[in-house]
Each structure stands twice: as structure tokens, then as C-alpha cells.
Symmetry: C2
Subunit: 412 residues, 2 copies
């Protein structure tokens, strides 16, 4: 069965300006088109965590939605995760959608035009999610602007908005119309605290109300991710938002490299953790599926990973601290949005090159089923680690090292 | 270049008694033999974390070693990880070896015969490691016995040995002969503390001396892993052993599912963490590469994963708590031993079906290089998590939950 709703081009490796990075659209499609069916089944068992040669079920979406995806050229994929039937609880199936997109206008266009063009570009994709019956929708990190933090230019701060700003207002109408929870990651300006900036996810309830916000906990200092120039580590802890469709949390971008960040959302009861991101190929692509799936397995919850797509070029060249000449782009944002489940299964990823909407049905009961099966929470020995961390924090911490007493003995 | 030292059969999917589980020998070989070179290069970039189409360098081993691997039918692979040259430090290249093996006699044979047969079987493989110049060698979990904990029969406790028992003595001679650190995971009997059992890794120094031991921190209660019937959670903390060849630690088997366990070894300064395991296909195979690689990435150290191989059948049938009829085997131990590096790269895995020795050269300087590049330790905010864990431990812990005030409002 074809996993793609809107048809798919034959996967071919084309020569591209940056070599291998932009070369292909999707690992899953490349393997599917080039391996024999039985081989692909084996590979899927390992790479997608699908036991017994099962394929992940696909969801049939309305024809109108497929038509919109063709018209607007975005990748559309929809899957259903498996969970066991329970005897004492009804299934709690939630339909979740993730949108990845490139920016809509060159970064040289007037800022207001850029933002409005993104709104306009997203509208049919959000409508497609709504028409598909999506219950919870998440957009990519800082979706309302180019990811300009590579430049270190402060003028991009103008894109920042208060939590109840125009991006939130834009999305509130969709939330209300489609009875849909929407997670909106923005560059936030905190008016009441001296106009400081934060990297923030706003959670909009299915009645169009703002439920709350979460601010990015871990800020990168790697490659061109000069975000620490713009905003500080978040001060909102690890909130879990109890919505009409389950308990959700948001681990923004670089926070996915920190297992403790994933853990804390789990300890607070999250059933789905969203990871809205903006990350580029050379730096992070091999890590991308590893960290998400590990978090889902270790914490017995679903993980929803979103990465923006495309190459963004900025007006003024900048250097990257690598001795190479100044350049004007951030590298290729490789999309590849996908879902990971607590049973170690995962969906294929959206395109590495095109806008996309990926949808998955997930029975939230699966989280507790995996907790009961594997017992990771029960066997975690948190007391040991609370103690380790408390000791580690002390300036005079001494690591537990057992040295070979014969360390400096000469070999015979 | 062929990554296999002793030739490789054409990868074919054969029908096998347990369906897909035993079907193929190695994911890497299957992909390499069935994809076009440019496709395989792209897939490797993502799956092995190799940037820019690089292949992992292979190491040339002595012909005598290759001959031994052919004679004794074990898989032999050897790779070299890349690290940058530094200006103020010399490279610290260490050669590490991992051995996976099936048991040598049926589990119905006299216990002493079984153990001696394993010794005999391992001798040429350990010699091959020594002759290859391996500096640190690690064997699989409870290597000196069948993994009989599925049975819940206490008679298998007879295999337990003190830390200085005959398995240690057997290995000490090799350590001395080859100037090699050897990690020996055994079933330990603690004579001085009431004869209790532990799942323990003994660390033997390159002079043949016992440097110390580590006891498995997390004990599973899943599937047929009835280990909690035999031994308790370890009481040795998270020791890092300072050896002639670097700082090493051992995260035994099920502990790989616990990110905090990996973290604590990292906080104590480990540069290589070994994960000697015994785990079966249906339960854990899709998790296997995910958890190891995530640990290497998140903690900026090398991870060495070892899993035993083969199907072990026991004299008396036992049930699995799944309502199915009693059966006499534990499922297929899928081998697949491999290395993961802090830069997100990894080696291909050893065979899923055969004994094997995998060797890798690793410059331990890479650990600090990745710490400096990504800054995970610096950006980790341990204070936040020490506080979270301390609060979580309290019986009256209340998770940080923000409820939608309109949660129970009817939709219009």
C-alpha cells in the first residue's frame, strides 16, 4: 500500500549544489523503491520498529484534502499506530498533525510582507489538517519568521510578538473553527518584563483560548545556531498541558539533545511531547530520528518531531566560526517531520525538501501499556540519580573513579 | 571496500522457523548488496551518521587473524573512527574489541562441561583480539553460562562465581599475555555477604590484575527476563575505571533503557561505556541501535554494544506470562554488536546469527571535541533536574500540569 496520499515521484538521486545533503526526498521511499518487498519488510522491521512484518496502517483522508495537497504541492502522509484493546478502558485515539514549511518570501522582502506571506501559505495546509479531523496540530519552531538567528543581526528581533499577538490571533480562528488544539512556536516578546525575548510555544485550546505557554529550556551554541545572542534559557519549567485531547508538552528544538529535558516532561505526565525544530543537514541529520525515538522509548510517550524545510538566504553574508568564507545561508533545513511511539515504532518521515502535513492516529492508552510492559519508571531508581545530580552540582564534586593501582607500571 | 575481513556470503533472505527474526545476517550488508552505490552512500550517511559520503575506514588485520576467523566461523570486522587532529594534545587512539558468541554445548550437558566448552570456544577469538592488538576487550553479559534466567529455576545459580573465580582466572592470563584490559561480565556470587548473587562486570587490568567490579544497576521485569528472581539492583554506583587505555565504564544490559544510568557514567568521566547484553529479537531489536547511539550522542562518549547470539533451548518448558503455551527457548539473541561514537557515527553491526569479533580504533580526544562543539554538558541545567528529581521522589509530588480551564466546555 502506498503510504503517500498525493502520489510520489520516482525517488532519484539528483546532483545538487550542496552534494549529498539535498539529494533525495525521503529515506523510506528510497528504500521502498529500491529493495525487494521482502527485503523492505525486514528493513522496516528494524528501522521503523514494526514487528512481524506489519506495515503501519495508513489513514484515508478526504479527497478534497488530497486535492489541496496536490494543488499547493505539499507532502501529505497519514498513519495509524497500533495499540492493544484494554478491558477496563476505552481507547483514547487522538489524531495529531504536524506541519513543516519553507518560508514564503525572500528574506529581503519587507518584514510584514514576509509574515503575511507565511500566514497565507499556511492557511490551506492548516485547513487541510482541520478538514482531516486533526485534534492537535503543531507548527514548526518560530514558524512566523525566517530562522535568522544565524546572522546575529538584532533587526530580526522585530519579528517577536507577545503571546497574544497576531500569530496567535491568526491561529485562534482555526482552533475554534476546527475544534483543534494548536501549538504555535513563536519568537516571543515579553512586554511585561522589560520587552525581553523568548523562544516560546503558545498552546491554543480547542475553543480558541490560550491555555498557556512554554519557553525553550536549552539554548544552543553550536554551528550557526547563535540563539544565545537573542534569548535566554526558559523560565517555565516543564509544564504539561491538559487539553481536551490528552496531556501534551513541548520540547523545543535543541532541548531534544537533553535526555533530562525529555524525562522531566514525562515525570509531569506528558502523553505526547512535540519537538518543533529548525535544524540543518550537515549538523544534525543523523541524530534526528535517534533522539526522538529514544525519548519515546525511554519515557513511554509519543514524540512528534517537526523540522522546517528549505534553504534560507539572508541579505548580509556572515561567518560560521569555522575559518571558512562568509556565506549567506544557514544550510538546508531537511524537514523529515515524523512521529515516534513508546513501543519503538515510528512513521516514515515527510519530505526532506517540500512543505508537508503528516497526520497520525494514536491511542494514548499505549503509553501506560508500555509502562506496564517494560517498567522503566518503576525500575528507574530516581533516588540514586537525584543524589548523583545534587553531588555533581557542588563545586568540589569528585567523580567516582577507580584507578588501576598498576596504571603506571611498565609492561614487561 | 569490503567491510568484512573474512568474506561474506551473498545476503539472502531465507525462510526460517521463526519467520522474519532470523531472516538475514546484517542490515548493513543487506542494504549494501541491494542498493546502488550512490543510494547506499546516502543511506549510510543517515543510518551510520557518516557525513559527506565518507565511509568509515576499515583496519587491516593480520592474515593469521583472518584465517582464524574463517577456521572458526566467526564474523570479523574492524573499523576506525575519525577524529580531528588537535594542536595541544596528541591523539589518544585506543583499539577496542567486542566478542559475541553462542553457547557451546546444549543446556542439558553437565554444567562444568558447558562452562569449559565456552572457555574453549572463546580462546581462539580472544587470541584473535590479542593478535590484532586490541587494548580493551569486552565479552557479553554472563558470558560463562547460558542465559537461563527465563526458566526461573534456581539450579542455574550454580554457575555463579566470586569475582576472583575461574572465569576471571581464565581471562587474567590473556590480559597479561596481550597487555589487554578485559571486561568480564559474569554471574557473581558474593561469598562475604551471605552468598548473594549479582549480575557483575569484572574489570581486569592489562597486567592481569582485577581493578574492580560493577554490579548491574537496573534489573528487568519484562518478557522472559526474570532476572529479578535471581539478583537485585546493583550497589556499586556508577564507577568509572581509569585504565592504561582510558576511562571506561559498564552499563549492563537493561540499564541501556535508562538515560539517567548513561548520564551518571558520563558525569563520572567515562570515555567509553560498554553495554554487555543478552537480548532477543521480538522484544528489543528495533531499540538496539537507537539507545546506544543516543547515549553516545547525549553524553559525548563512545558506546560499545555487545549482544549474545543464537537460540538457547532449556530442558524444561516454561511459560512467558503471555497466555501462550509453554516453550523451551528464550527467542533469538540477535548479536549485532557494534560501536557508536559521540559524533553520531557508528559502525555496521556484527552478524545477527554468528559468533563475532568487532574491533574499532577510536581517538578518545573525540569526546572532548564533541563537548566543545555541541556544549551539551554546559547547557544541561543540572540544577533544574536535581530539583525536579528531588521533588518527584516525595510521596506528595504534584506534577506541573496546566489544565485548559475550558476542558469540560461543550463544543458549539
Amino acid at each position: 500500500m502506498d503510504n503517500t496520499q498525493n502520489g510520489e515521484a520516482k525517488e532519484e538521486l539528483k546532483a545538487s549544489s550542496d552534494g549529498s545533503i539535498c539529494g533525495f526526498d525521503s529515506l523510506h521511499r528510497l528504500l521502498k523503491q529500491n529493495l525487494k518487498p521482502q527485503q523492505f519488510q525486514e528493513v522496516s522491521r528494524l528501522l521503523l520498529g514494526l514487528n512481524c512484518g506489519r506495515e503501519l496502517d495508513t489513514i484515508s483522508l478526504p479527497e478534497s484534502v488530497t486535492a489541496v495537497s496536490v494543488e499547493h504541492g505539499f507532502d501529505l502522509q497519514a498513519f495509524s499506530f497500533h495499540a492493544d484493546k484494554e478491558l477496563l478502558r476505552e481507547p483514547r485515539v487522538v489524531r495529531v498533525g504536524l506541519i513543516q514549511n519553507s518560508i514564503a518570501l525572500p528574506t529581503t522582502a519587507p518584514f510584514l510582507d514576509q509574515k503575511m506571506a507565511i500566514f497565507k501559505k499556511l492557511k490551506p495546509i492548516i485547513d487541510a489538517a482541520g478538514a482531516s479531523g486533526v485534534n492537535i496540530l503543531c507548527l514548526q519552531e518560530a514558524w512566523m519568521m525566517p530562522f535568522a538567528f544565524c546572522t546575529r543581526e538584532k533587526r530580526w528581533c522585530e519579528f517577536a510578538e507577545p503571546v497574544d499577538g497576531e500569530s496567535t490571533q491568526f491561529l485562534q480562528s482555526f482552533a475554534l473553527k476546527y475544534n483543534m488544539v494548536i501549538i504555535s512556536p513563536i519568537l516571543e516578546r515579553d512586554i511585561n518584563h522589560g520587552e525581553v525575548l523568548w523562544n516560546t510555544a503558545v498552546v491554543i485550546g480547542n475553543h480558541g483560548n490560550v491555555i498557556g505557554k512554554h519557553r525553550k529550556n536549552h539554548i544552543p551554541r553550536v554551528g550557526d545556531f547563535n540563539e544565545s545572542t537573542y534569548y535566554m534559557e526558559g523560565n517555565t519549567g516543564h509544564p504539561v498541558f491538559e487539553t481536551a485531547y490528552g496531556k501534551i508538552a513541548i520540547n523545543i528544538c535543541y532541548g531534544r539533545h537533553h535526555p533530562l529535558n525529555w524525562l522531566a516532561f514525562g515525570l509531569n505526565g506528558a502523553e505526547i511531547v512535540f519537538n518543533p525544530s529548525a535544524t540543518v543537514g550537515e549538523l544534525s541529520e543523523p541524530m534526528w530520528p535517534i533522539e526522538a525515538r529514544n525519548a519515546a522509548i525511554a519515557n513511554s510517550y509519543f514524540v512528534a518531531s517537526i523540522n522546517r524545510v528549505g534553504t534560507e538566504t539572508f541579505p548580509n553574508p556572515f561567518t560560521s566560526g569555522d575559518g571558512k568564507p562568509a556565506h549567506a545561508d544557514f544550510g538546508h533545513f531537511y524537514g523529515s517531520s515524523h512521529f515516534s511511539a513508546p513501543d519503538a515504532s515510528c512513521t516514515p518521515s515527510l519530505s526532506r525538501k517540500r512543505d508537508g502535513l503528516i497526520i497520525a492516529d494514536m491511542d494514548l492508552n499505549l503509553c501506560r501499556q508500555l509502562k506496564d510492559k517494560w517498567g522503566f519508571r518503576m525500575t528507574a531508581r530516581y533516588d540514586l540519580y537525584a543524589d548523583t545530580l545534587a553531588r555533581y552540582l557542588k563545586p568540589d564534586f569528585e567523580p567516582q573513579v577507580i584507578s588501576d593501582p598498576l596504571l603506571h607500571k611498565k609492561t614487561l
